[in-house]
Amino acid sequence: MITLTADIVRSTNKKLTMPTLTIDNQTITVPEGKTILEAAEALGIVVPHFCYHKDLGAVGSCRMCAVTVHTGPMPGLKMACLIPVEEGMVVTTGDDASATFRERVGEWLMLNHPHDCPVCDEGGECQLQEMTISSGHGIRRYKGDKGTYTNQDLGPYVAQEMNRCIQCYRCARTYKDYCGGRDFGVMGSRNRVFFGRFKDGMLESDFSGNLVDVCPTGVFTDRTFRFKSRSWDLEQADSVCPHCAVGCATIPGGRLRELQRVCSGDNPQVNASFICDRGRFGSGYASHPERPRQARHKDQNISVEDALTLLESQIRTAVQQHGPEAVLLLGSDRASLETNWLLQRTAKHFGCRVPVLNAHARRHQTAQIAAFDFSDRLASLEDVRNSDLVLVFGVDPLAEAPLLALALRQMVRKQGRVLLYDPRPVELPCEFDHQAFSPAGLQELLENGGVEGRHLRDLLGQAQRPVIVAGADLLGPLGLQSLHAWASGASNAERSCQVYPVLAGANSFGTALLSLPEQDDLLTRLESGKVKALICVETDPLLEAPHGERFSAALAQVDNLVVMDYLPTPLSTNAGLFIPTCPPVEDSGTFINNEGRLRRFRQVIKPGLSLARTGAGEHPSREFTLITPGGDPLPAALVLQRLIRQEQELSELHRHLAEDQPRLKELPTITPGAPGKRVKPAVTRPQKTDKLPEQPAGTFQLVVSPARYGSDLFSRFAAKLAPRLTSTRLYLHPDDLFERGLKDGEKAVVETDFGSFRLTVASRPGMAAGCALVENNGDCPQLIPGAGLSYCHIAPGGADE
């Protein structure tokens, strides 16, 4: 007998009953409310189905999951996806009645489906193929013509082939119901039903790519992957999306040394079975044409081994001559936990001072508050989906953590309520209350609160499963600490008020967890003048941290700039010594996401120039050699291990890491593809926070937000995302625009602490007054989000030349 445990047991008063039923002579006990289909699945019995989907629920429209129920007042043929289990129920799935019924349904679903499997991109992973075969249907009896449709052009990401449609409605339920998209729907009636847009054009939802994953047949396929590979030829592995700090499960697929597509993985605690388009179509960075693949010393190409020998002697000489301060190792929130930890070990090995693990000092500090102060009350996205009240402070979910937006939509669909406080004109795919507070206003609300704050804290106290979403970039250490007080105040003996912090990088939490508090930041250490060699591992402070000009100036005093990276950043190009490393898809490692969840990823492809490039469209070269072109890059963790001459298996490394960091005790037990476990809670550490600067007269509060596409470096180097990029504008509230005598579309000069920029102004009624909003992307790389509250002057910028 098998027992399926309840994944969510939330009702406190009502006791959950566990009915026992028999399916095909096997007994199983499942929680009340589960369906026959779920119980059968738990027994390993496959009941064919199309319209039922784990995260979309059951609608009973495809009629494929028929089984026979032998007990109860109404025995007979039932749809397994709709019937809740009952005590003593007896079900058969293979009896003549249900088997024949399913065969007929299979036959009927195939009436209009074309036999184009040999040229269909879904071939090899087609649920219709599998279910038709499992239904037993084989001989076509219907002599009529098949229906045909005219396809629509749905843009560069999703290809449509409507003739293959079997009307299961999964696409509409995903796009409209789950993701909240409003430009896709179902038209017509009966056998003319058509799933598409009102007119041709790119699907507007930031989650449009999920159509590809949910369509059980080849109606919606990944256009960027069309005709590239058969699914069975792909190298695939369980991975983690590196684009933001949510840490969604992904399954990238590569072939011929090219990362060709990314599919959604399944993590019930994080992304369920959906991902955003930034993660799905933003994979081009791995095969970027300018990706540096060769170790280089000044202008000379050298081997990685020689580079390592050189680096070792450089470090030893610097430490010997100038002391432990002379070598500064810099980690990164896009580098794996292993790499960052090995940096600390490397420092110890050579006797240098502890590394700085994040060039962006303020982001690092806020991440530390998340990783320490909040560690006993961190919410998962599943907690957000099941919450009844979410207060969001300083987050634009679609830009900073897209799957959070989807989680909020799911809780709103379950009658939950979202209140959002942010200076930006935030959009969400669900109903929510938005109060446009300026950054300073937000800090005041969180610190003193006043009437509004008291009201919000009351709401939190009354809610059954409250969650606070805290934007680290906008709120900074001060705001996060205020929210910590809010969360403690709203918790009681029965339940805790949880917090979902929104951090910046895939491994922000990990780097914060590894770091010591009260550590000097990168600029302080560089500007001390003591640093002779700077070793940047998978980071470019010019693009990933504010005050680029101070960094550049300090760099002039450094004798040796060493860069290890896989992106063609300016720093990679200017490094004195460069060692090529591997992005997460070419490496195995761990990220820790927003909620402190250890997420393992496994190597998908090996580094190397893709055959598409070495062959230049023709048959690749017929020279036979063991050397892979462009195959020099090594995972950064391996580079560091070779540098300190301690190469270890990953499992061995994890054991040492877990010993060194007791909070990571679970690390050795986590496998790729598994939901992953939380890090152990920590004690709160004292944090010093800076006072907010006073606002000079006539200035605006500067709000730098990541753009939805092109802010994280991965998507900036992903060509496929180009159609979604927007150009940088200076957004102002219409009243401010009017007051300054500016008009939509005119140029203005904005003077900030980070430089002066001439931008086109645009009016945004939904944003906070008194703020100047600029989005960070490839157009405007100098303004980095999360730099703290600062002010700017705005003056008319004159006409274009």
Partner: protein, 170 residues
Amino acid sequence: MTSIESQTTSHLLDQQTLAEFIQHAGEIEHPREMIIDVLRAIQSHHGWVPDEGVELTASILGLTPIEVEEIATFYDKIFRRPVGRFVIHLCDSVCCWVRGADEIAAYLKKVLDIEFGQTTADGLFTLLPSCCLGCCGIAPAVMIRQEFFGPLTPEKVDELITSLRKEALA
């Protein structure tokens, strides 16, 4: 999405009806429920609902065009293509069928010289099959401009067509 305020005139609706719809949409909780009313108003003013009609409805009700199109394409009494002046909805449900609807269909096609879904060359008649019209008592029946005619025989069809032709000339 066009904002509700931006639309004040349209060749698809008279100005007063448009203003009333806009006002009413602002007063009710779910303007979505007015989709059919607006589409029908456009249809009676313009004869059928062109793409701009769907977009106009969407902008009045604060919806996206596809949200209107889903409804517009579901109902066979909303015309998304031009139709003749008289649309003949011939019932093809069971009562009419047992009382000879097939023969009436064949006769209508012969005298009008069109198939189902087509419009006569003079633009007068469009012939459409319809699900049950709810007037089984006068089967076989047709509906023209919300008016029912039946029980039909070839002679009665001739009469009907002649009188409609006469009306068109008047």
